[in-house]
Structure formats: structure tokens, C-alpha cells
Symmetry: C2
Amino acid sequence: MRATLMYGAGDVRVEHVPDSVITLPTDALVRITASCICGSDLWPYGSMKPEDGPARMGHEFIGIVEDIGPEVTTLNRGDLVVAPFAISDNTCQFCREGLHTSCTNPQAGFWPDDGGQAEAVRVPLADGTLVKLPVEADSALMPSLLTLSDVSGTGYHAAVSGGVNPRTRVTVIGDGAVGLLAVLAAKRLGAEQTILMGRHQVRTDLGREFGATDVVSARGEEGIEAVRELTGGHGTHVVLEAVGTMPAYQQALGVVRPGGVISRVGVPQYEDAPIGFGSLFRHNIRLTGGPAPVRAYIEELMPDILDGTIEPGKVFDATTGLDGVPAGYQDMADRKSLKVLIKP
Amino acid sequence: MRATLMYGAGDVRVEHVPDSVITLPTDALVRITASCICGSDLWPYGSMKPEDGPARMGHEFIGIVEDIGPEVTTLNRGDLVVAPFAISDNTCQFCREGLHTSCTNPQAGFWPDDGGQAEAVRVPLADGTLVKLPVEADSALMPSLLTLSDVSGTGYHAAVSGGVNPRTRVTVIGDGAVGLLAVLAAKRLGAEQTILMGRHQVRTDLGREFGATDVVSARGEEGIEAVRELTGGHGTHVVLEAVGTMPAYQQALGVVRPGGVISRVGVPQYEDAPIGFGSLFRHNIRLTGGPAPVRAYIEELMPDILDGTIEPGKVFDATTGLDGVPAGYQDMADRKSLKVLIKP
């Protein structure tokens, strides 16, 4: 079969690899019908050292169950399923609390050897990880349903963790897919005002369609000043930080209201950052967020997609076969594409 | 009148200074009947440069209103009052939300020119800042009521901000007055388990009396291991960090459960600290806390003191007149005293 491998920064190849097979009794083998490239894939695409590769890529996909291990009880061959970006058993104490990304099962975690930018994939803990979709594989809803594997749930996690409600003003930092879906989530939760900070008008226009009440294209001090002007001087109760860089974190510190919360879902590209008296502490600013337990949100968000209330699939602005995946990476890195859907 | 001045690290003096007087129409002049030395006073006592001094000291006190400015409407001469450690108007949008430490009034903030370790003090925004006490100045409840000015409210703020409830296990880091009163607060909020990390048995014994179910005297990796053993391996849902040093923060990272919260009320002695993928982010650890809006908690906590339900004044293990203040600082720095009460 064919799969995507990253050999190092800027070096993505689609190659023939051994067919994925079931290796554990709780596995399923899934023939992929739709997958995509993630903004987080761009971090290694920008910096990965050749000695750390090659790595199989892709952690968002929909596919058809082709085979199941003997201990899989909830799935059958032919089921159409969506996979969250993290593997979990959906039964441990953390999964039961809705924190599937901290599942304690030894097989749980982020996608390991296999990847979703491929023709097929072995799915560990298939009963816990996969969620059946009540549509056919050629449904027009496929792009939106595919976002349930990561970006819809990640944007929603930002907003839920930040405590967005009708009494909160919200700033969203970042106009990538996650930032735009954080806007959609803030609208769903009833935010009084949602300010989207982003510089690419095609994207911020989609952000307005998703519910942004204001757009600030300036960054740094100028951007902070603009948000403060829009909020009576004090900033917003909630900041959804969907980038992960230090400048994005500093921007969040600049626009958050005293007593407010910065909710991070962009994977931090830093370890140490200011959290002392002069940043978080003085005005009781809270910090929350992390890898989204998207498995916990799929059942909640899916009905709105099925009935057309929300259309998160609009974040896909390009579609390719496997052959086009390397170019898709480059287009996303160059910001020519917002998010690339793959039909293997 | 006499007042306490800090001239530099290790150099505290009680000197004659000009009498405090009313300077603004919203001021009150308070004759101090009881005040104390704070754990946070020990930071400058350990490191203050002479060029930054001399500074008037003290931000926790009870006293009798001796005079009021023409715009003060809720207080009268002779009233016995307690002062929170921060000045606030109790009417701005942040005060109305209970975040008095972020009061927007230009006169609001931490104690400026005057201080509470003195015979008298000018209190700005007296209507907002001061709270009347329904007892006489010689009441036996005085030590406990004095804790309402800071340490009771600060310990309570840690627990409230951390979301302590009957379903949470709690670790308290630090056996100073704030840590011990964070234990008391966790008990008040019904914590399932409260583990106190502290090395001084006299203090941890008081912590047990306040409601600690377990005490861990080890620190660093050994202490973290002990807490994990007491909690089935995963640490506690809430960590109340009542010290403020980097080792205390690192200890908090070690004992907090995935999805849990670190609530800081010890003034951070660092600005940058780990908050990236390897510390907070990976397991959705939240960070909260800051300077406690103790003004918001006084009415809530006072009845329990008046009826004897709680006795937070037990944190005072020494009493002195103004002459003994310099020795009191040294005793607290040497950990001979937990907290020193001053009767000017």
C-alpha cells in the first residue's frame, strides 16, 4: 500500500510500504476514504531532523473497517468510522471523565507507527477509538465529518476549557483551521463578542461567516491595542490561543482581561514562558487547555453537522489524492492552502 | 507616631515618623489595635536593596477609626474595622465581580506610603476597603479576625480558584500560615483528601488540626513519589501552591493529576517557568490563582469565626509590641515563629 512519510524538514514523500495489518486482538484495519494534513504537521515539516525520520504521517481520517481483531465487539467490516487524533480505550478513569488524551491504557496515545495519510491504517483499541458514522462514504458531509477527527473538537475544547458562555467576550488568536473552528465553537457557546486575530482575509472572512463579530489583522502591540479598544480597554474574558508560538502567547497575555483565562490548543513551541507576577499572577489570569480529547466531543458535535447547523468542513480549501500530499504540505506551509483534504 | 520601616535586607527598624493624617476626602485614619508580619514581608527582608528603602511595612491590620474624610459615608469614629491587604473602592466592575485586587480606581492597589505595622495608618478609599467588626477591640477572637486581612482569605482564594469540592483530592504545598489556612479552606469546601506538604512538625500538626488527612514531609522527587502513592499513582485534582518559589512550582507539576489544576497564591519569585508540552500542556493541567481579593471573602468567612466554627488565629504563635517587630521578622525568617501578631 502507499503511505506518506516525512524524511525531514520540507521532505515529504509518498511511498510503497508494507500493508498495514492487524497485530493485536483489539485492533481494526481501516481502509481510508478521507484524511487530511494538520497545522501541527507543519511543525516537523519546518524543523524535523533527518535522523528523526522517516516518520509516517497523518492523524485525522475517515475510513471503512476492513477487518477487526477477535476482541473488537462494537465494530463490523464495512462500518464507516471516524478516528480522533488520539488513541484511547474509552473506559479508563480519565476517558470516563472526558479526558481521552490522558487515557491510561498502555496502547493509548498519539498515532504511533501507522498514519492516516495513507491507503490504510491499523487502529489500536478500535472499540474505544473509532466512532461509527451514520452516512455513506460518498456523503457530501464528508469534509465536515472529517473535522471531527481533530480541528472541530480542538476548537471546541479551547472554548469549553476557556469557559465561553453568553456573558463572555472572546479573542481567538490564529486564523488557521483550529482558530476558525474555535470561532465557531465560541458562537455555539453563545459568546457575547468574538474577536478574531488573523491576517489572511480569505480566512478571516470565513471566520466572520463562522461567527466572528470583529477581526483584528494587526499583531503585537498594535493588535493588542486594537482588541483593547474593541473591549472598553480591558481585553476579553477568554482568549483562545490556536497558534502555539511565543508571540501568540504574548499576544494572549496582552488581550486577556483581569481574572480572565487563556485557553491554549496550539501545540506550544516553547517550554518556559512568563507566568509570574508581571504576566499571569498580578491579575489572576488563568491558563488552561492542552491536547483536545476530541473523542469526548464527537457525539456532541456530530448532530449539528448531520443536520447542517454547522459546516466546519469549509476549512478545507483544497483536495488531493495521495500523489499530491507533498505539494499539499508545501501549499499549507506557504499559506496558499488553509487545509488540504486527501482522498487516497 | 511610631512605624516599621525596612531599610534593606535584614534591616527592619521601628522609628518615629510624622503622624498619619487624612489627605483625601475618601480617607479614614485608623488607630491600629492589632497587626502582623506576613510571609510575603520575608521576600524583601531577604533581598531588598538599600537604595529601594526605607519602606513602610505592614498590610494586615485591625484598628479603630479615629477620623474620616468628608466623603466617607459608611464609617464612623470609634468603629472597629479590619483592612484587606489591598485597597479597593468595592464599586468598580472588577470589585462587583469579586476581583477587588484588580480594582480600577486610581487609588486602589497594594498598600502604598503608609503601613500597618505602626500605631496608625491612613486608609484610602475607606468606604470600599474597610469592613466593620461586630466585636470589641479586646475580643478573644481578635487573632482569628485579623487573619481576614490576608491569610484566611488568601488560603480560601487558593481553594476557591482551584475548584475544591467534595469530589476533589487536594495537595497543599507549604506549611506557612497561608498553606495551613488553605488546608482549612479545603476542609470547608469538603475536599475528599487533603495532603499537606511541609517539613515543620509543629506546623503540620496544626495542619492536621485544620483538616489535613495526610502529611508529606519529603520534598522534591521523594515528596512527589509520596503524594502519588497516597493517590493511587495519579496525584491530586487540585494543588494549592502557597510558597511561591520555583521548587514549589515544580513540586506542584509533579503532584497534579492529568486534567487537574495548580492554584498559586504564594507570590511567584520567578517570571518564566515551564508551561509547555512537557509540563502543563500534555495533560491539560490548568494554572490559576493570584493576589487574593480578600475583601470579597470577609463577609463569607467572618460568621464562622464569630461562632467559633473555625479558629484561623491559631497560626499566630507569637505576640509582640512594636519594639519587638525587628526580632519578629528575624524569628519568622529563622522559622522560629510561624506568624507574629503585633499589638502596637
